[in-house]
Amino acid sequence: MKQTNYITSSCIISNHTVYKNGTVLFSEQAATDVPGFLNAVYKTRDINYARYYKMDNLNKLGWLASEILLSGGFDKTKYRPEDIGVILSNRNSSLDTDQRYLKSVADGASPSLFVYTLPNIVTGEICIRNHFKGEDAFFIAEDFDADFITNYVGKLLDDDVLQACICGWVELLGKEYKAALFLIEKVKTGDATLFTKEKVTKIFENKKPLQDVFIAGVGVITAMGNNVAECLSSFERGEAGMADITHLDTVHAGKLPVAEVKMTNVELADKNGMDVGMSRTTLLSLTAAKEALKDAAIPRIETLRVGFVSANTVGGMDKSEDFFIDFITDNSKGKLKNVFDHECGSMTEVVANQLGIKDYMTTISTACSSSANAIFYGARLIRNDVVDIVVAGGADALTKFTLNGFNTLMILDKEFCKPFDENRRGLNLGEGAGYVVLVSEKVMKTLNRPAYCKLSGYNNSNDAYHQTASSPEGTGSYLAMKGALNKAGLTTSDIDYINLHGTGTPNNDNAEGTAVKRLFDPHYPPMSSTKSFTGHTLGASGGIEAVFSVLAIKHGLIYPNLRFETRMHEFSFEPETRFKKGQAISHVMSNSFGFGGNCSSLIFSKI
């Protein structure tokens, strides 16, 4: 019968550090050698066990691990001695002592060393110390085999050969060593975890907590401003970026309001020293990314590994549309140079090249959550030590393609949008770019001024409901927000402001609101949709709103949700309508949800 067994305790000893149940218990980096470290661990145990000094290093290691494993809570009197077993494994058997023993042979072989030339003496020492008389075994394997150990020990418990078992890995050869012991019992105690291959592997790997990721710089361009300062000023004045269409050549001009960046392509190209033939997406991307890098002002950046993770959804569609005007009349016509950087990845390549970023580059395109995903992907690159710095975010230019597309979906508001209002009718499209400069802790410490904040949580979950509609339960949004909180180790009461996805469509705001209600009810933090200023900038929105979230922490801001009048009947909360300064803001959640059910939440936290 397969039953449920639990890991009721674990102990890892490696890298001169002792971990009990995942927490560092003792660390002695100053220890000069392995025996010195083991003796230092022994001294922390505050016991006098004469046998310890007779043991070889492998036995000392295994024995100490077992002492720590069984300390603090394990009541062996619950079991008969013959019901507790010890099943261990390692790679090099007793080779460490075998070598020592063989050296002793020339001067008269040492019996006290010879006895330790069997690996299973480790299980014997543990049995002697604890009076365990159940089955003991020692397996040799090249690597720790979590699958075998969980199956084998699980079966011993299931078949009542044993009622409790210490199992794991005790390896030591010269300077290399590792002990990983698990106490397995049939009864759940305290913070016990399930005895599964996955849990055992995770505990065994004992990866050090991934490093924090800090935000060192921000850059943004939207319809409400061409840089960070202009955007902040528009927030304060409550001036939205929406207006009649002026740059885009479209039949919808004068009928559908959009949030266009005020600069023309020529102005953008001039500002960046670029060819005006570039896609507007590239020009917007370069403008904001440059501002972010300049803002970060990272000392000696040329000596560091830098990555560029950029998102967009339309790529160079604006230029392809120009190409098609001639091409559609005669397929031998059309300027091919207009489509050379059509694909999304081209934007990233051109901008990375301009920024001089060579170490890592990739493009993410997951609809309206694209640049939120770019930021958290960038964070993972740093956390896993792939690079030191990542410029992450996204850009999208307004195009006929997107405007017509959203128009056919009938989710565009012919007036300025009213996110989270009972009478909202849809979204306004916008354009722009937003980037944050993510840096490792090591880089953060070299900055000439404090970093803005850190990225403490992130999650991506799928709504698994519909291609272009959100589920009534807000499943994906709920999972993303909850997952980000878990990642950050925060609870809902820690969140001081939510930058909502809040597109202003009936469907999004209903689903997102439901998810917020499920997670936060009855205590709602201040929240707003800054899309009421910027319009929905699609692939850029996650990056732009990340910049606003970072600034909210830095300056203690809460942004207003413009044009809100009537609370949605489904909810007991409503968005903030006033611009607030000097707020105590420690944690900001930023939501970005996209077609395809792709839902992401980021959490930024004060340092």
Partner: protein, 375 residues
């Protein structure tokens, strides 16, 4: 519970190269133990059961070590009797205490050598030689390694994950091992005398053995593994229990698993190393289990103590005894030398044998017991 059959076996020892060879020669009273003068192994002459080095299987220029060649030859013979599909639901278990440790005596102590010495390196070579596709298991549990292999193999079959388990074991007698037991003053001055009043230590031996356990019968007279258990003395790392209580526990548990009582056991193949303490402890355990009247032998007088292979070699002889209804006498025994007297078999016995008990104990305080039964 489902049955686990022993469908093939091999003993490769200085006495013979097949199970049949070995059993015939034991019946004839032939022993592998003799006096050796070999300065490469020990400064003084010593008694042991060793390959003389002229065996065909130990010759030839291959990249396998002696330890690996012994195992490969032993498995090859067993697979001839029961050719199972090694790429499908067939496990390999290798039992050894020291494997390739002799390489450390002669080779330069480099990382490459350390890798070559490791038992998992041997296991991989052996598995690849035959084409086993499952990850081989290596058991290094001192002198109970062989029995532990049988117990583990049986569990793998009963888990339903495997149809066949090839269990093999070997140890080579090297300077490392001889000097070690010598340092313990544990080596006998003459051929060892298990359970005898004049016993004064072990005689070492080398050999390999293989047993194939299967979920399905190979031939009508296949013997089954019906029980097996392991215990620890929790007393001393190199001296056995003072009471024998823990070995008795293992015996009791294995009888219970086999659904047998102590009176169902027709004979006992003991560990009987011929050290003063081991044999005394075993006698106590067998007495505690109410089995002292049952005919008992130790085969160490023929094979010496073959360490990681001992449990397998001695089990295979016990299985032959069940099949042929002939019990091999305990060589070297003349007069009771344990506090509790046992029924030591001193001449070829015949009877109607159904079930037998095999025991072993080792450094680290480990004990194992296995029950073999005819259907």
């Amino acid at each position: 519970m489902a049955d686990v059959f022993i469908t093939a076996d091999n003993i490769l020892s200085p006495i013979g190269v097949t199970t049949a060879d070995n059993f015939e020669r034991l019946k004839a009273g032939k022993t592998g133990v003799r006096k050796h003068y070999n300065k490469l192994l020990a400064d003084e002459p010593f008694y042991a059961s060793l390959f003389d080095g002229n065996e065909a299987i130990l010759k030839g220029n291959t990249h396998y070590t002696k330890f690996e060649r012994l195992i490969i030859a032993s498995i090859t013979d067993a697979l001839k009797q029961y050719p199972c599909n090694l790429a499908h639901r067939t496990a390999l278990i290798i039992c050894s205490t020291k494997g390739n440790i002799s390489l450390l005596e002669t080779g330069d102590n480099t990382p490459v050598l350390k890798q070559r010495i490791s038992l998992s390196a041997s296991a991989k070579l052996i598995a690849d030689h035959f084409g086993f596709t499952s990850q081989p298991l290596v058991i290094s549990n001192a002198c109970i390694s062989g029995l532990m292999g049988i117990i583990t193999g049986k569990r793998l079959i009963l888990s339903g994950e495997y149809d066949n388990v090839v269990i093999t074991g070997a140890d080579e007698i090297s300077k490392f091992i001889l000097s070690g037991f010598g340092s313990f003053q544990a080596i006998s001055s003459g051929p060892c005398k298990p359970f005898d009043i004049g016993r004064d230590g072990i005689t070492l031996g080398e050999g390999a053995a293989t047993m194939i356990l299967s979920a399905h019968q190979n031939s009508g007279d296949d013997v089954k593994v019906t029980g097996g258990a392991v215990s620890n003395d929790a007393n001393h790392i190199s001296a056995p229990s003072r009471t024998g209580e823990e070995l008795k526990q293992a015996i009791t548990k294995s009888l219970a698993e086999a659904n047998l009582g102590n009176t169902d056991i027709d004979f006992i193949s003991a560990h009987g190393t011929a050290t003063v303490y081991n044999d005394e402890m075993e006698a106590k355990a067998i007495t505690l289990a109410n089995m002292r009247h049952i005919p008992l032998n130790s085969l160490k007088g023929y094979y010496g103590h073959t360490l990681g292979a001992a449990g397998l070699i001695e089990s295979i002889i016990a299985i032959q005894s069940l099949k042929q209804n002939i019990m091999i006498p305990s060589l070297g025994f003349e007069e009771t030398g344990t506090t509790d007297s046992l029924n030591i078999c001193t001449e070829l016995l015949s009877g109607h044998y159904q079930n037998c008990l095999k025991t072993a104990s080792g450094f680290g305080g480990c004990n194992a017991a296995v029950i073999f039964s005819k259907k």
